[in-house]
């Protein structure tokens, strides 16, 4: 258990640290709480795995510093950082039994045999692999190997757990089950954990705080709920939540309250309108999540912030129905009640929940909204 501090961490493979565009990881700053579960998420190549490997010491850092439990480990070898890691490939030792796989690190520490046995057996019990201890990894299923990899990490009782997409080789159902188990395990052991994934659902369900990365840069670090409600920019807004947030680019009206083009006009009132008034630019992007759009019956007279369009695709999911609607040139996804019957080609009216709208700067793509203090 420890606080992990990353200060201005940079990774640059070209060797020219001054060239920020070539940085695989650029100016990464994060201080964890003790025992926090941090998820690093982003599309492939965003630098999340590189960041984790730098914490592990498997990659050198090109700049900045990393401290674990108050000790600067920036240039300390992986074996001396007191961390344990679960690899995507599990990286079990094929020639050793499950027991020896889990005992390996303890044997290297010259721990007495009796204590090794106790620790391994305890961990095996927690992970429900006690009956597999004598087997070789090749005689295990994917899910069992995954548990052994977790077991190898937890017997160490390290200061930090690092997990690099540990669930990506499991089938969908097992992934959901194991996801919950890892969370339970974390709550029980209380070890500071870094978890890398490209799956935003995994990130949202597991992370106490999530670091969203893109092109080596941190986009936002926040709790799942705040990421969803107060995305810092259009990338985060589009990345978090399924289906993705809809974006409508339009001109800011003369009253400084509306964003509109020839096909839609949205009136931003209250605090949202105030930021728009203060913004002063000619254009802005309005973001609205599919779940914040709702179906309006043709006879309904409601006419405040309504999008008029044509249904293009209908995707019934059972509990809800996803529809894609063309509003002029804009394709908008909406989540509507599954009992509403709509068909392709139908004209449709969608009501926007004004208080859920997001507003972004059209050029920097940054959110104009001020999130409340955490």
């Amino acid at each position: 258990m420890a606080i992990v501090e990353l200060k201005h961490v940079v990774k640059n493979y070209s060797g020219k640290a001054s060239d920020a565009t070539a940085n695989a990881v650029d100016d990464f700053n994060l201080t964890t709480k003790d025992g926090e579960f941090i998820v690093l998420v982003g599309p492939s190549g965003c630098g999340k795995t590189t960041t984790m490997r730098m914490i592990a010491g498997l990659e050198s850092i090109s700049g900045g510093s990393i401290a674990i439990g108050g000790r600067d480990v920036s240039h300390v070898a992986p074996k001396d950082r007191d961390i344990a890691m679960v690899f995507q490939s599990y990286a079990l030792y094929p020639h050793m039994s499950v027991f020896e796989n889990m005992a390996f690190a303890l044997r290297l520490k010259k721990m007495p045999d009796a204590e090794i046995r106790t620790r391994v057996e305890d961990a095996a019990k927690v992970l429900d692999i006690a009956h597999l201890l004598e087997r070789k990894p090749r005689a295990l299923s994917g899910g069992q190997r995954q548990r052994v990899a977790l077991g190898r990490a937890i017997v160490r009782q390290p200061q930090v757990f690092l997990m690099d997409e540990p669930l990506s080789n499991l089938d969908a159902k097992l992934r959901v089950d194991t996801r919950a188990e890892i969370v339970k395990l974390h709550r029980k052991l209380g070890v500071t954990t870094f978890y890398v994934t490209h799956d935003q659902v995994e990130a949202m369900t597991m992370g106490q705080r999530i670091v969203v990365m893109l092109n080596g840069k941190v986009q936002q670090i926040d709790t799942p709920q705040r990421l969803y409600e107060w995305p810092a920019n259009m990338f985060v807004a589009g990345f978090i939540g399924t289906p993705s947030m809809n974006f409508l680019r339009g001109q800011i009206g003369t009253d400084k309250r509306t964003v509109a083009d020839a096909h839609f006009s949205l009136d931003l009132r209250g605090p949202r309108g105030d930021v728009l008034a203060a913004h002063g630019a000619a254009e802005a992007v309005v973001g609205i999540r599919p779940e914040h759009l709702s179906y309006l019956a043709p006879e309904d007279a409601y006419n405040d912030n309504v999008l008029n369009g044509t249904v293009e695709v209908v995707e019934p999911l059972g509990s809800v129905t996803m529809i894609q609607v063309l509003v002029g040139p804009h394709r908008v996804t909406a989540q509507i009640d599954s009992h509403v019957s709509v068909a392709m080609g139908d004209p449709i009216r969608l009501r926007c929940q004004t208080e859920k709208l997001h507003v972004f700067d059209a050029s920097s793509e940054r959110s104009l909204l001020q999130p409340p203090a955490a």
């Binding site: 592990a56 498997l58 990286a91 390996f104 290297l108 160490r156």
Partner: protein
């Protein structure tokens, strides 16, 4: 269906034919070894004859005796193989798991040293050995064999190490193992079949080596290659004795190869099937 069987038959027959052609010299050597000198020298080859151990008896006692040469062959082959592996394993480890920009070049360069014909470097090496007093010295010969086989060993061990996922090395690293512990407890056990076949190949190559043995040794460090060559004389009959000596020379390595066969096949196909 019939056509298929026909092709199978032809292929099998062809395989037997090729095997026979390749095996024939060994068979002929074996037969000749059990003949009398007169019998061995006849123009019409005899396949049926009364076998005799006469040639073996004479051959065994020739020069300093078979055991002297066999011991030299064994020392030079075994020691050069062991030292070769000892040097090749760390080199291959570094190149396989911590490659740099120049790793590929280094590998190609190492093998390129094998492109030069041995005669090309005979004179400089001979002079160096002469001045160092290493001529006709078993350790001098062993050192030559070691350097001769080292590029091959590095290449082979490198390719076996390459088949081991780097994640496993990193896992050991994080588990707290130092380089030596990673190598001894994780990498070597995994690469063992490959190391065994690499070692066996180096052993065979050193055992069979004749060029350097003939040029750099005379008596005290002479190996079995020198022993065989010593039977060749300008006058008199020597085919049966020479064949007997050859049989005595190849026998140990064939027996060893036979026992190592399984390990060897596993090693050579290691990584090919996953």
């Amino acid at each position: 269906m019939n056509h298929r069987r026909y092709v199978d038959f032809l292929l099998t027959a062809l395989a037997y034919l090729v095997a026979l052609v390749m095996f024939f010299p060994i068979l002929w050597m074996l037969l000749t070894a059990f003949k009398t000198e007169q019998n061995a020298f006849t123009m019409t080859p005899h396949f049926l004859f009364v076998p005799t151990l006469e040639s073996f008896k004479v051959a065994f006692e020739q020069g300093s005796g078979y055991m002297h040469y066999a011991l030299n062959s064994a020392i030079s082959a075994v020691v050069s193989t062991l030292v070769g592996l000892l040097l090749a394993i760390p080199a291959a480890y570094a190149m396989a798991f911590y490659p740099t920009k120049r790793t590929d070049f280094t590998l190609v360069w190492m093998v390129s040293t094998k492109f030069i014909p041995a005669v090309g470097v005979l004179i400089p090496i001979y002079l160096v050995y002469k001045n160092l007093g290493l001529l006709d010295n078993i350790w001098g010969l062993t050192a030559l064999f070691t350097t001769m086989n080292l590029p091959l060993l590095v290449w082979m061990v490198y390719s076996y190490f390459k088949d081991i996922p780097k994640d496993i090395v990193e896992a050991a690293d994080i588990d707290g193992a130092n380089t030596l512990q990673t190598m001894l407890r994780v990498i070597l056990p995994l690469a063992l079949p490959g190391l065994a076949s690499s070692g066996l190949l180096a052993l065979i190559l050193a055992w069979n080596e004749s060029f350097w043995s003939l040029t750099m040794t005379d008596h005290s460090a002479a190996t079995l290659a020198v022993y065989i060559a010593s039977f060749k004389s300008a006058e008199g009959l020597f085919w049966a004795k020479m064949s007997a000596a050859s049989v005595l020379t190849v026998a140990p390595i064939i027996v060893l190869g036979w026992f190592a066969q399984r390990q060897m096949v596993r090693g050579l196909t290691f990584g090919a099937v996953k």
